[in-house]
């Protein structure tokens, strides 16, 4: 039993390793994952006075959000279009293992981009509380990786998968307090914001950078993100199972 479980864990890693090798440096990943957060940041900050301690955590959250999501909008649709998904499906493993492997690849990419952004932004921002900040990056990357996978399930090709996923993500960026504090929004938008996962990622990172970390709020932010991760994971497996049945 334990041996079978170890073998499954190995397969998760092999699938993630393969995705990293193949999809990390695909054009759409770099465009949507690396550049889009910068473009959005520049577009928002031109002509405004922006407080770095407020915006930088949002930018790091966006890096995890767009990075982890971008690789998923590429890998799953491309595998299904080109036929390589059959190699995974005919292997002696479950669909859940395949999904975990792909999630892990997105998690790596989201984490990698967030750390890169953090290092670039470090000279312009207050020093974050490192451990909670890194923990928040890890949890956010995990959640956004599964969210990206869920958004890509209905599509069989990159050009079909990218635009709707990007529209959803950009809309979320403007609602979830990345650039504008949620408290300043109308009540109805605030309700929407608190229902969306990005809000909790931004809040966790902001708290970790604020210097006055509210442990309870921080843990709630992480717990909500973990809860969302499970919901997205469950929905992805269910939906994907349905498409191959």
């Amino acid at each position: 039993m334990a041996e079978a479980w170890i073998e499954e864990m190995k397969r998760v890693f092999y699938i993630a390793e393969k995705d990293v090798k193949i999809y990390f440096f695909k054009g759409p990943n770099l465009t949507f994952g690396l550049l889009l957060p910068v473009v959005l940041y520049v577009a928002f900050s031109i002509g405004r006075t922006v407080e770095s301690a407020f915006v930088i955590p949002g930018l790091v959250a966006m890096a995890a959000f767009f990075g982890a999501g971008a690789i998923q909008a590429v890998s799953l649709p491309l595998e299904r279009r080109t036929g390589t998904f059959k190699m995974l499906l005919t292997a002696p493993t479950s669909l859940s293992t395949i999904i975990f492997g792909k999630t892990l690849a997105g998690f790596f990419f989201g984490t990698f981009l967030s750390v890169v952004y953090t290092l670039i932004m470090l000279p312009f921002s207050p020093l974050p509380n490192l451990l909670p900040f890194f923990l928040a990056i890890l949890v956010s990357s995990l959640m956004f990786s599964v969210f990206g996978l869920l958004l890509s399930v209905p599509f069989q090709d990159i050009p079909d998968a990218m635009p709707p996923a990007t529209v959803v993500r950009i809309a979320m960026v403007f609602i979830c307090g990345v650039f504008t504090p949620i408290e300043t929004m109308p009540a109805s938008l605030q309700t929407v914001a608190y229902a969306l996962p990005l809000t909790y990622s931004v809040d966790a990172l902001r708290q970790a950078m604020s210097g006055s970390l509210n442990n309870q709020m921080f843990l709630i932010d992480l717990a909500v993100q973990i809860f969302y991760s499970f919901v997205f994971l469950f929905a992805t497996i269910k939906l994907l199972k349905k498409t191959i049945e």
């Binding site: 190995k10 092999y14 699938i15 090798k21 390589t84 499906l89 005919t90 292997a91 493993t93």
Partner: protein, 324 residues
Amino acid sequence: MPSESAIKVSELTKCYGKLLAVDHINLTVNKGEIFGFLGPNGAGKTTTINMLTGVTKPTSGTAFISGFDVKHEPIKAKELVGVVPEVSFLYDEMTAWDNINFSAKLHSVPKKKRAALARELLRLFRLYDRRNDRVGAFSGGMKKRLMIATALMHEPEILFLDEPTTGLDVQSAMQIRDLIKELNEKGTTVFLTTHYIEEADQLCQRIAIINRGKIITVDTPEELKNTVKKENIIEVSFDHAGDIVDELKELSEVRDVVIAGDKFRLYVEDPAETLPSLVHFAEKKRLKVTSVSTLKPTLEDAFVKLTGLRPELMTLEKENTKPS
């Protein structure tokens, strides 16, 4: 649970919405045989393979791979099979070496054995010198050979080959057929789908003919030919014929007429009775008979009789839908 049969399928059915792709099929494949699954494009061959190999779930019915239920014990069933789909499942961005090793890792082939086996198979399939090249640069024949090598990395008991020679040049197709024979001689059970009747005749110990999701018959190639043995065939060609099929059908004792290239095949009860009327017909139409002969029934004739399909139509359909 050990089983005498390699594959046992009972009332297996697959529906896509209202479309019945595979319709309550039953078949048994014995261990160590090459079993052919012959039928036109869209007959349900690939869907059947997909159900047997875990790519898709059956709507109803049961299927066992060496005694393991594909629905309830899919992982155990998949451990025993190697799959070569019609369309490449290889990662174009990866090298041949990485592809074959990735598949082996998924099948839990131990690390030490993995490298030795990969070398052996790549040499056997004459791809060792290209092992560090990206698969995207490979020809169709090379990809097919690599797919077979990849499917053999975990030494499967049963090998599923979906249209293994479609789209290949004559030489590559011959090489693949020889490899299938070699693998079978070493004990591998082969489940082969094809729309090439001659290929099925050459390779398979038994053949199932499938059309519109239903199995029409399962038998040895020789027994299938016997189903049309009572029929005799006159093959005739004229110097300038035009469209005379309907007129030929009206000659005495002629049951059917099939065009085979520039020749007409007349399915008759007794050639001795038909030949005089054929000569008279030619004279009347001012046609010169350039060749005439009687033929033994072939598997193609059996296929035509059993399915009502023209074999050349089957090939045309497949070539037209060949993936780019």
